[in-house]
Amino acid sequence: MKKDLIVLLALILLAVVLISGIDVKSVDEYYLLHAEDVKPGDPTVTVRVDASAAVKAGGKPVEALLSLGDLPPDGVLLPDTALVLREGDSAYGLFLRAARIHKLTVEHEGNEKSLSGVYVKGINGLSEFSCGSSSGWIFTVNGKAPETSPSAYYPADGDVIEWRFETDLNGFFN
C-alpha cells in the first residue's frame, strides 16, 4: 500500500508538471484585436511574411490554399508591418505578435524557453514540404539568415525581420 502511495504521488507530480506547461487560448483571445500604436521615437522592428516563392512554384497544396483565399495571389501574407520593440522581445515573439494581430495561424515546434528554441513549421496553412522535400519557412534579418533559432535572436531598432517561404532550402544554405 505504501508503495502504491509513492507511485501515485509521483504520477500526480508528473501530471501537475505536464498540465502547468499547457496554455489554452480561445480563438478570440489568440487574435489580438488592436493593432499596435507606434509613437514617433519608439524603437521599431518591421515584420513581413512572404510566400511568393510558393505561389510561383505552385503545386496541389498551394493551389488549394489559393482557392480558399488563405494565401493571397501575390503570396504576401503580411506586408511590411512596424511593431514596437519592447525589452526582451525575440524575433519569434515579435513575429507571433504580428501574426496574432493580423489573424495568421502559426504552426510551430518547440518552446520559447527551451534551449533548442522554436521552429516555425507552417504559417496560415502553408507548411513545410508543401513545395517539395526541401521547401519550408526560413527567417531572415535584414536579408540574412541568422544562425540561431528565432526565439533566441534579439533584434535591434530598425531591423527588418522576414519570414520567407523557400522552395529549395538545401540550395539556400549551400
Binding site: 500500500m1 508503495k3 502504491d4 507511485v7 506547461g21 499547457i22 496554455d23 489554452v24 487560448k25 480561445s26 480563438v27 483571445e29 489568440y30 497544396p61 488549394a64 490554399l65 480558399l68 488563405d70 507571433l96 495561424t105 502559426v106 504552426e107 510551430h108 518552446n111 513549421k121 507552417g122 496553412g125 507548411s127
Partner: protein
C-alpha cells in the same frame, strides 16, 4: 449457411478486397459501414466476456486516436482553440476520427478473420504453392491463443505458491512484467524442443501429400462473382475520384450519383458475410418445426 462454409478462395478474396478497399479509400462512410457489418457478423463468433471487453476497448481506441491527431497535426483552416499557441483545428479532429474508424474497421475485419478461418483453410488455399509459408502461418495463428493460455497457467502457478498477495497495485504490475519474461523463456524453449522433436520423427524428409476437403461449387462461383462486381464498382468510383474525401486544408466531400453508387458497392461488399449469416438464421427460424 455461414460465411465460413464457402470455399477458402472465396473468403480469402473477400477479406483481401475489403481490407484493401477500407484502407486505400480511407472514406469514413466505408469504414463506418465495415465496422457496423463486420461487428454484427462477429457477434455470434465472440464470447460474452470478449464482447464486454470490446465494448470498452474500441470506443477508448477511437477517442485516443481522435484526440491524439489534433495534438500533433495542426493542418486545417478552422482553429477551435490554441494550445501553446499552436492551432487545434476542426479538420485535424475530423481526420483523427475518420482515421480511428478505419483503424477499428481493420481490427474488426482481422478479428473476424482469425475467428472464422482455421489453419486447415489456410493450408488448403496456399499449401500447394507455398507449403512452408502455410506451415509458418498456421503456427503463427496458433501462437496467440497458446500464449494467452500459458500466461494464465503461469499466473495460476504463482497464485498457487502464494506469490500474489493481491494488495499492492505496484507489486502486481512488477509481477506481470516478471511473468512476461518467464512466458517468453518458456515459449522459446518449447519452440526449440518441438523443432527438434519434429526432426527426430523425420518431419519433412519425404514429399508430403495434402488433403483438400473443400470443393468449389456453383454457390462459391456466384459469391466470387458478386465480390468481384462490388469491388469493380467501388474501385471504378475510386479511380474516377468519386470517393475523394479531403480533410486538409478544408473539408471537401464529393457527392453525387457516382459517389452514391460506388459507396453502395463498397457497403454491399462489407455486408456480404453478415447477409449470408442472416440468411442462414432466417431460414433456420422459418423452417424450424413449430410443434
Amino acid at each position: 449457411m455461414t460465411f465460413s462454409d464457402f470455399h477458402p478462395l472465396v473468403t480469402a478474396a473477400w477479406y483481401l478486397s475489403v481490407l484493401i478497399l477500407t484502407t486505400a479509400a480511407g472514406h469514413p462512410v466505408l469504414s463506418a459501414g465495415a465496422i457496423l457489418f463486420t461487428g454484427l457478423y462477429s457477434l455470434p463468433l465472440t464470447g460474452a466476456k470478449e464482447k464486454k471487453d470490446d465494448l470498452f476497448f474500441y470506443p477508448l481506441l477511437f477517442l485516443l486516436v481522435a484526440v491524439t491527431n489534433p495534438l500533433f497535426s495542426h493542418k486545417g483552416r478552422t482553429p477551435l482553440f490554441f494550445l501553446n499557441d499552436n492551432p487545434v483545428t476542426l479538420e485535424a479532429i475530423l481526420y483523427g476520427a475518420s482515421f480511428a474508424l478505419t483503424l477499428i474497421a481493420v481490427l474488426l475485419i482481422c478479428k473476424c478473420m482469425t475467428k472464422d478461418s482455421s489453419a486447415e483453410r489456410f493450408t488448403a488455399l496456399i499449401g500447394r504453392f507455398l507449403p512452408k509459408t502455410a506451415t509458418v502461418l498456421s503456427v503463427a495463428l496458433r501462437y496467440v491463443p497458446l500464449l494467452k493460455r500459458r500466461a494464465g497457467e503461469i499466473r495460476e502457478a504463482q497464485r498457487g505458491i502464494g506469490l500474489v498477495s493481491g494488495e499492492s497495485l505496484t507489486d502486481r504490475v512488477v509481477l506481470t512484467a516478471k511473468n512476461y519474461s518467464s512466458l517468453i523463456g518458456w515459449s522459446m524453449v518449447s519452440a526449440a524442443e518441438s523443432a527438434r522433436s519434429m526432426r527426430a520423427r523425420n518431419y519433412g524428409v519425404t514429399k508430403r501429400t495434402s488433403l483438400d476437403p473443400f470443393r468449389f461449387t456453383a454457390r462459391d462461383a456466384g459469391m466470387l462473382i458478386l465480390i468481384a462486381l462490388c469491388l469493380a464498382v467501388t474501385v471504378t468510383g475510386g479511380i474516377t475520384g468519386a470517393l475523394r474525401f479531403d480533410f486538409y486544408p478544408a473539408l471537401a466531400v464529393k457527392t453525387g450519383a457516382i459517389t452514391a453508387v460506388s459507396l453502395a458497392g463498397g457497403l454491399l461488399l462489407a455486408a456480404l458475410p453478415m447477409l449470408t449469416e442472416g440468411w442462414g438464421w432466417m431460414k433456420w427460424r422459418i423452417l424450424r418445426s413449430k410443434i
